[in-house]
């Protein structure tokens, strides 16, 4: 009973924060509500016993992604009114999609109650250990492939954002290594009291 009560508390809180993300006028508030929504879903995950996924959600999404969002939103100068202007046009479409998905969920849960085979997997005692057991054995290839996807994302981000400007002075290591000191430094004998003529 206590568990069910907590679930409904966090779930309704999650829905409220999600609605606030969309409807708050200030983008910074939106991002802060997004953080709150992530936090609530973390609690939901911990409630069903998936503590690893919950903690990862907290660390990655709140600790990294949402904070990055916050930085970006604070740095961009967004015209709030222009964003809110068009929303009403999309209400009928949004209601249509939401209605279809709601009808699907009702159809699936009420009329076609199906027994899932997943419950045995979720109910194991130690979630983190279970993930560790399969991540580097059964799903090793997939794990490595996701690493390759990240490599691609890194290269892609560099390609898209790096602009080569010839006007900027750069360090050219090849050139530095192949020059000799005699090309760059001129040793001059000076007589005392006369100095050197620079232009020579």
């Amino acid at each position: 009973m206590f568990l069910l009560g907590t679930f409904y508390f966090f779930a309704s809180f999650l829905i409220v924060t999600c609605i606030s993300v969309i409807f708050s006028k200030n983008p910074v508030n939106s991002v802060l509500f997004l953080v709150l929504a992530f936090l609530n879903s973390t609690f939901l995950f911990i409630l069903i016993g998936a503590e690893f996924v919950g903690i990862i959600l907290a660390i990655v999404y709140i600790g990294a992604v949402a904070i990055l969002f916050l930085f970006v939103v604070m740095m961009l100068d967004i015209q709030i009114t222009s964003l809110m202007f068009n929303i009403k046009r999309y209400v009928p479409l949004a209601l249509l999609f939401a209605g279809v998905i709601l009808a699907e969920i009702i159809y699936l849960t009420v009329f076609k109650s199906s027994k899932s085979n997943i419950s045995e997997i979720v109910k194991s005692s130690n979630n983190t250990e279970e993930i560790g057991n399969v991540l580097y054995t059964k799903y090793f290839i997939d794990f490595q492939l996701s690493g390759i996807v990240l490599l691609l994302a890194m290269i892609g981000a560099i390609v898209l954002t790096h602009v080569y400007r010839p006007s900027i002075k750069r360090q050219n290591i090849d050139k530095q290594n192949t020059t000799y000191s005699k090309d760059r430094i001129k040793l001059v004998e000076t007589k005392s009291g006369e100095g050197i003529n620079y232009n020579e």
């Binding site: 699907e104 159809y107 699936l108 076609k112 199906s114 899932s116 085979n117 997943i118 045995e120 997997i121 054995t137 799903y139 090793f140 290839i141 997939d142 492939l145 996701s146 390759i148 996807v149 691609l152 994302a153 290269i155 892609g156 560099i158 390609v159 898209l160 602009v163």
Partner: protein, 461 residues
């Protein structure tokens, strides 16, 4: 224990990627040579030693042949594409070695996708493939259209990946497994999940109600990237779609079967009606590719009558023709840059006879006019589908190709009977000339000497 040997081609491509990252910094041009050589070695390996790769897997012999043949086609296609990509990029001042890396990543993703035996690996392969496609669309960072194409492709592609993941999670919820084999007795949740997976795949191959991104992305991206979108990744996704259709027995599930048929019919019609009013070459080709996707879906549905050979035959002819058309377009430049409008083709006969005649062959073949290979491709599909009982779809397919002939012929009219408007630069790119001339010869000669291709399919399937 993981069978690493069956991943040998993928590991080889990964090694090529890592080598190219290192060498690309020192010498941009070397990446092209290294990777073309690498893919030639890979092709030779797949042709002669390919069957040993999948000995320890659970695939049937038919599936192994399917996977191997598509991997061989993909690696031959990537040799041609890698060699072809250097010159057009240099013409646009875009040549950076990362482009070659993106090609490699996309091919790696396609390889993983084609030979995957579970939804998780397939998802990662598809993501790897489409991420590099987004980057190739936005590669011309100084051009606003290219940026727009990249953003459109990325946001819509991310949406479809979301559908795919949602579908996969529903299937996992139902069966507690990612593999294709465990899906024997379906419950409704798996059915909905599979429908979402199919929607995502239809998006990736740009089948009709999910095609909205195609014309814009084709138009905005650099032309060489458009060639890539239209050929190799689409080929891989179609093969994967076929494997899903075949291994999950989708023809037995009524709701999904209807989805397949409806998508096929809409693709055939949207492809032709969208193309009629287009004035830009790449948009026309985008709509024509949607029409061809409709034919390929028809082939996938009626493959049982003949064999997988019909699909491969259509796909191979489509790949050859598309490579030919785009290498002609890449070769046509005015002093202001590439030709974009259809009127730019006016009077092509006068300025370059070989290009005009090759283009004529390709367009006739795309329209399905008899002596050329495209006719036989369409003919096999139509005879298979009529024998399988898809009467309405066959009628729609025939009507659509009659309408399609109209706009292909109007392009031909532009090339042969209109006056020359803008002076074309004679950009003598020997490689792409070689490609379009040889594709034209292959497509013409098929009528006289069809045995090699047909014998190949007979021995494989």
């Amino acid at each position: 224990m993981i069978d690493f040997y069956s991943f040998a081609p993928e590991i080889f491509i990964l090694a090529l990627i890592l080598i190219s990252i290192t060498f690309g910094i020192l010498n941009k041009g070397a990446t092209i040579t290294i990777n073309a050589t690498g893919f030639s070695l890979l092709t030779i390996f797949l042709i002669f030693k390919g069957h040993s790769l999948y000995q320890n897997t659970l695939y049937s012999l038919n599936t192994i042949n399917l996977i191997l043949l598509s991997k061989i086609i993909l690696s031959i296609g990537s040799i041609i594409f890698i060699l072809l990509s250097g010159r057009p990029l240099k013409n646009e001042n875009l040549f950076r070695y990362e482009y070659i890396l993106f090609i490699l990543f996309a091919i790696l993703g396609s390889f993983v996708l084609i030979s995957s035996d579970n939804f998780l690996t397939a998802f990662i392969g598809l993501e790897l493939q489409s991420l590099s496609l987004y980057l190739m669309a936005a590669f011309n960072t100084k051009n606003l259209n290219s940026n727009e194409a990249g953003i459109k492709y990325f946001s819509l592609g991310a949406l479809s990946s979301g559908f795919l993941l949602f579908g996969i999670s529903m299937i996992y919820f139902d069966t507690a497994s990612f593999t294709f084999q465990n899906l024997d007795n379906f419950s409704t949740i798996s059915e909905v999940g599979l429908a979402l997976v199919l929607i995502a795949l239809f998006f990736k191959v740009s089948a009709a109600p999910f095609h909205i991104w195609t014309p814009d992305v084709y138009e905005g991206s650099p032309t060489i990237s458009t060639l890539f979108f239209a050929t190799l990744p689409k080929f891989a996704s179609l093969i994967f779609l076929f494997r899903i259709y075949h291994e999950l027995n989708i023809s037995k599930i009524d709701s999904l079967y209807y989805i397949f048929q409806i998508v096929c019919a809409i693709s055939l019609l949207v492809g032709v009606y969208g193309a009629i009013t287009q004035k830009i070459i790449k948009r026309l080709l985008a709509f024509s590719s949607i029409n061809h996707i409709g034919f390929m879906l028809l082939a996938i549905m009626s493959y049982q009558y003949m064999s997988e050979g019909t699909i491969f035959f259509y796909l191979i002819i489509y790949l050859i023709t598309t490579f030919g058309v785009f290498s002609v377009i890449l070769n046509l430049r005015t002093s202001e840059g590439e030709i974009t409008l259809l009127t730019g083709l006016n009077g092509l006969k006068a300025s370059s006879r070989s290009k005009a005649i090759s283009m004529l062959v390709f367009l006739f073949s795309l329209a399905g006019i008899p002596p050329f290979a495209g006719f036989f491709a369409k003919f096999f599909i139509l005879s298979a589908s009529i024998n399988d009982g898809f009467y309405i779809l066959s009628v729609i397919a025939v009507i659509s190709s009659v309408i399609a002939a109209f706009y292909y012929l109007s392009v031909i009219k532009n090339m042969f009977f209109n006056e020359l408007e803008t002076e074309l630069l004679l950009d003598n790119n020997k490689l792409s000339s070689f490609i379009f001339i040889s594709s034209a010869i292959i497509i013409t000669l098929f009528f006289f000497y069809p045995d090699p291709l047909i014998n190949l399919f007979d021995s494989l399937f």
